[in-house]
């Protein structure tokens, strides 16, 4: 049992056993502080495990099968190591952020439970990405859902929160059923759920089964990842969770779904049927576009972030779909490129999305609201937080010098490389995808200009925002660790690109990336130098600034009500894409008799597109009505009951007759 295994065992035992035990046994601040430190050390240990096992290619980590009824073991190949690194790298800052956050918001009792579940949540996600048997994977998978739901419920249980959690649980359970299905579908051929055996069996399976496995994997993991139209739970569950938890859910939990899909589609199946890529591509394109459009329309910061998670997942799956298409055409270079892009984007999104959610947490803890129309002017009041959030916004908008750009760039290049495919279908569709991704990127930029600009810039729109205080030290540290990560990857992408390439080479035999695409690693530092250098020069040109009142068209003074609100800001885009939102607008003007000098104008606009109504209700109602019909069979009349028995008997006897 080498050091790596030791570290991993330490990690598991700490997160799974010690921390919850400590928190349950003893109440009081010291115990809690001990627990938090333990979680942090565990996170660091996890990171070390990931890096070292990535470098030295250790595979088997830990085998608990002696204890459990079914094989339950952990192994880390490069894919798992990459995602393990992702989990730990995000978990540590979030934990640091969370400790002051929970102290601010929760009662003693709540804190104990929250931290216990918090560590269990981390554990479950680590289990998922490092499991090497189906049993372990599924166990971790279910646990992940449960614990996160518990974390949401600790916050409180209003009816709509309850309903949202219910929707979350139900959809996750159905998704888990699909995931379980695509594990079990291997069984007749692999005779075991050990990943090695499954991998071996993957190639030998008949096409039909392969297709079934692919589809159920796509549905199962898609539901977890929040692909439209399976995204229903996401904008419901993420906003109502406490911010650190939503950071974990959005930052890491969605990535476990990506991990699962990559594991199945690439590792086990080695690329799905020929149409698989196109299916994924189309769904992903819709997800990305609609996701970001809904995000722009939101004025609740956390809902906005949730929808933008949907969008980013869409981008990741764009990459995966492209890679699948390349695989189907045996063009391994393109496949590698797209896959690297997708994985990198997953990694980046983990960083900036958790950063942004933490930022929302910081805002809500100092202003007690995340409604953009109530905020404003926070940059002057909480500059450190603001700067970190700004970094997050730039990254998520996919701007160069920040990490979001690198991955989107790789995906762009993979689309471009698609033109080299002989197949006309792919050769046209992939380059056209550039347009889609460009639109997504542009809208994302617009969306986060709005988010940051309305929340942090200008003048405060409410008293809370007026008196906002800078977030406590722990929160700032957590935020800035993530922010530093974003910039670091953004300016020196080489740090991750090379390892990712080696990962992909292991994952898809013979794959690689075109050399010239690695040039991004060299060019970006140059660009950074030029941009910042010129900016510095330009800054030198300027004297110090003098304060002067903003020009108010000659009016006595400027009130905050003259500013653009988030709703107004997104108005042009909303009216351009009106057919997406199908808005239901109401304008009430008083008094009605004089249209030009209204005393008051009330305006409201509601999005009426509802997936729930169109896609989900019918299913549910089908089941319910079926149940009601069955219920009628249970008439309280005993004679009817006896009749049932006799009918059963008679039908069996006839069955016997014909069976002979």
């Amino acid at each position: 049992m080498g050091p790596i295994e030791m570290a991993f065992a330490y990690l598991l035992s700490v997160l799974g056993v010690f921390v919850p035990a400590i928190l349950i046994v003893s109440r009081g601040a010291r115990a809690r502080r001990l627990a938090i430190t333990l979680i942090l050390t565990a996170g660091v240990a996890g990171g070390l495990v990931a890096v070292s096992s990535f470098l030295w290619q250790t595979t088997s980590l830990l085998d608990l099968s002696w204890a459990t009824p079914f094989p339950f073991s952990f192994a880390v190949d490069r894919l798992s190591a990459f995602f393990l690194l992702l989990v730990c790298a995000v978990a540590v800052p979030v934990t640091i952020f969370a400790s002051p956050y929970f102290d601010l918001h929760y009662s003693e009792q709540q804190r104990r439970w929250t931290w216990a579940f918090f560590s269990l949540f981390l554990l479950s996600m680590i289990v998922v990405v490092t499991a090497s048997t189906g049993f372990a994977f599924l166990a971790g998978w279910e646990l992940m859902t449960l614990v996160s739901a518990a974390l949401i419920l600790i916050e409180g249980d209003s009816p709509e929160r309850r309903h949202n959690v219910f929707v979350y649980l139900l959809m996750m359970h159905v998704g888990a059923a699909a995931v379980a299905g695509c594990f079990f579908l291997f069984l007749p051929y692999s005779h075991s759920l050990d990943f090695g055996m499954i991998r071996a069996a993957g190639a030998a399976m008949p096409g039909g089964i392969r297709a079934a496995v692919f589809l159920s994997a796509f549905v199962g993991f898609g539901a977890k990842a929040g692909l439209i139209p399976l995204h229903l739970w996401l904008p419901r569950a993420h906003p109502i969770a406490p911010s650190p938890v939503s950071a974990l859910m959005s930052g890491i939990m969605l990535k476990t779904a990506v991990y699962g899909f990559v594991r199945f589609a690439f590792d086990f199946l080695g690329g799905g049927p020929w149409w698989s890529g196109y299916v994924v591509l189309v769904v992903a394109a819709f997800t990305g576009l609609l996701g970001i459009l809904y995000a722009i329309a939101e004025h609740d910061l956390k809902r906005l972030l949730a929808y933008s998670s949907v969008e980013n997942i869409g981008i990741v799956f764009l990459g995966l779909g492209t890679s699948l298409i390349f695989l189907a055409h045996h063009s391994l270079l393109g496949a590698g490129l797209a896959l690297v892009g997708a994985l990198l984007h997953a990694f980046n999104h983990a960083f900036f999305k958790s950063l942004l959610f933490l930022g929302a947490g910081a805002i809500s803890s100092s202003t007690h609201t995340v409604d953009l129309n109530e905020l404003g002017g926070l940059q002057r009041r909480m500059p450190v937080t603001g700067a970190a959030v700004l970094i997050g916004c730039c990254s998520i908008a996919g701007l160069p010098l920040f990490n979001g750009f690198v991955s989107e760039w790789l995906i762009f290049r993979s689309f471009l490389a698609g033109s080299s495919l002989v197949d006309a279908k792919a050769g046209i569709i992939l380059p056209l995808m550039v347009g889609i991704l460009a639109l997504i990127g542009g809208l994302a930029a617009a969306c986060f200009v709005k988010a940051f600009g309305v929340a942090f810039l200008g003048r405060p729109r409410s008293a809370e925002a007026e008196h906002a205080q800078e977030a406590p030290l722990g929160m700032r540290v957590g935020l800035w660790m993530l922010g530093a990560g974003c910039i670091c990857i953004g300016i020196l992408p080489g740090l991750l690109l090379r390892p990712l390439v080696s990962l992909v080479q292991v994952l898809v035999p013979g794959a690689g990336v075109p050399e010239e695409t690695l040039s991004i690693a060299y060019i970006i530092p140059w660009i950074a130098a030029i941009v910042l250098g010129t900016s510095a020069l330009a800054a030198l040109l300027r004297p110090r600034a003098r304060m002067a009142r903003t020009w108010a068209c000659g009016l006595p003074g400027l009130t905050s009500r003259m500013q653009y609100t988030s709703t107004v800001f997104s108005k042009p885009i909303r009216s351009v894409f009106a057919q997406v939102y199908r808005p239901d607008r109401k304008v009430e003007q008083l008094p009605t008799d004089q249209p030009y000098f209204p005393a008051s104008i009330a305006y409201q606009s509601v999005r009426t597109t509802s997936y729930e109504r169109v896609l989900y209700r019918p299913f549910v109602e089908l089941f319910i009505s079926l149940a009601h019909r069955l219920r009628r069979l249970q008439t309280g009349n005993i004679q009817i009951y006896l009749l049932y028995i006799f009918l059963a008997l008679v039908s069996l006897l006839t069955f016997l007759r014909f069976q002979r």
């Binding site: 449960l146 009816p159 149940a627």
Partner: protein, 477 residues
Amino acid sequence: MIPVLGAGFILLFRNPRFATRAALLVGALEVLALGAVIWQVHLQGELQEGRYLRADALSAFFLMSIAFVSGIVLIYSSGYLRHTGEGRFSSPRWFYALVFMFLFTMISVCLSANLGLLWIMMEGTTLASALLVGFYNTEGAIEAGWKYLIVCTVGIAFALFGTIVLYLAAVKAGMSPASGLDWISLMNAAPGMALDPHLVKLAFVFVIVGYGTKIGFVPMHSWLPDAHAEAPTPISALLSAVLLNCAMYALMRYDVIVSRTVGPAFSHTLLLIFGVLSMVVAGLLILVQRNLKRLLAYSSIEHMGIIAIGLGLGGPLGLLGALLHTFNHSAAKSLLFFGAGNVRHNMGTLRIDGIQGISRTMPQTSAALVVGGLAIVGLPPFSLFISEFAILSEAFAQAHYLVAALFLIVLSVVFGGFAYHLFRMLCGKPGRRPENARLIPSEYISMGIAALCVLYFGVRIPHFFNVLLHEAMAVLR
């Protein structure tokens, strides 16, 4: 034999408190005796007492779950009966007396070496428990009791006919009338001797309808929700956690014989049909229940369906899953019923829409309900996840894709139902204050044991248990 004596012994006490103590004493003795039997079986394979009593691994396995459940049920009811008055046939002492009669019949179901005796004892379980179901003497209780009595007796009558037909087959095949009903001799003889396959099939049809009524297979399940809902909580726990298992045990015996005679295809198909039918119907009915205990009753039907599917699939994992599931289901279900019992005491009702926000008012009970609920819908890290996992993998491994798909779908539906109902009961603003929110020790102990067991078996299966399990499977092969 302890229970019978115990029953008489208890009837001597008029004072309920003494009766309770005596009952606990007797219960302890009984559990010890069962433990001894199991241990013997574990040591020396099979026990044979005279011509009519024998115990092999399979019976030992079921005895174990009887011992476990009856133990915690007795502990629980010692506290539960604190507010039942005196009445004809309905006083604590009668309660315990009947309970022990009930236990006696069930134990001897598992111990009987003779199919006839088996039948007699099965009928005995009905008779012993009918009064218990009607224990409260309310309209509902009496109605439920009557239905239970009639429906089950009719069903059992068919089982008797099946037994006779099997016996006929044996006799015609030239076995001595004396041994013509010993399942052991039938089992051993079955492959070699030419039992008329057609008669055997006929027998199995009657038996599966008959004992299926006791198990609660759809469409013979009609008595089950009534009985479970109206009986006193400990009895509901006993019914769904032990009685159903015993009936299942009886069915297993026949299943072995039949599949050894005419090949597994026939009996397994029937089991699969009934299993899937029960699972689907019960799973859907769970969605629309309004009474907590009826909800639990239907989920028992669903789980019996799961077990039947496991049996019907056969194969190492299927059998493992089925046997394991009997035990796990008993533990989880008794836990849930205890929780429901507390809810009834405190809120005075079992109507789900009448219960709200108990997570605030009685945290411990609702914790028990949550643990039980998570376990019963088959989520890790609880034991039912293991057994369902086993059965599912068997289903897929044998490429029974339809069964597997239905299985998965129903699991999701059931999850939805339970989550929905539990949320409604746990969350929300509490209605009326409960009288005594905190658990009294007896409840604490019994629920604690059940919960721990559910959790522990979810993580690992103890060695001794595992050995017994595999011996039992060996019997079923």
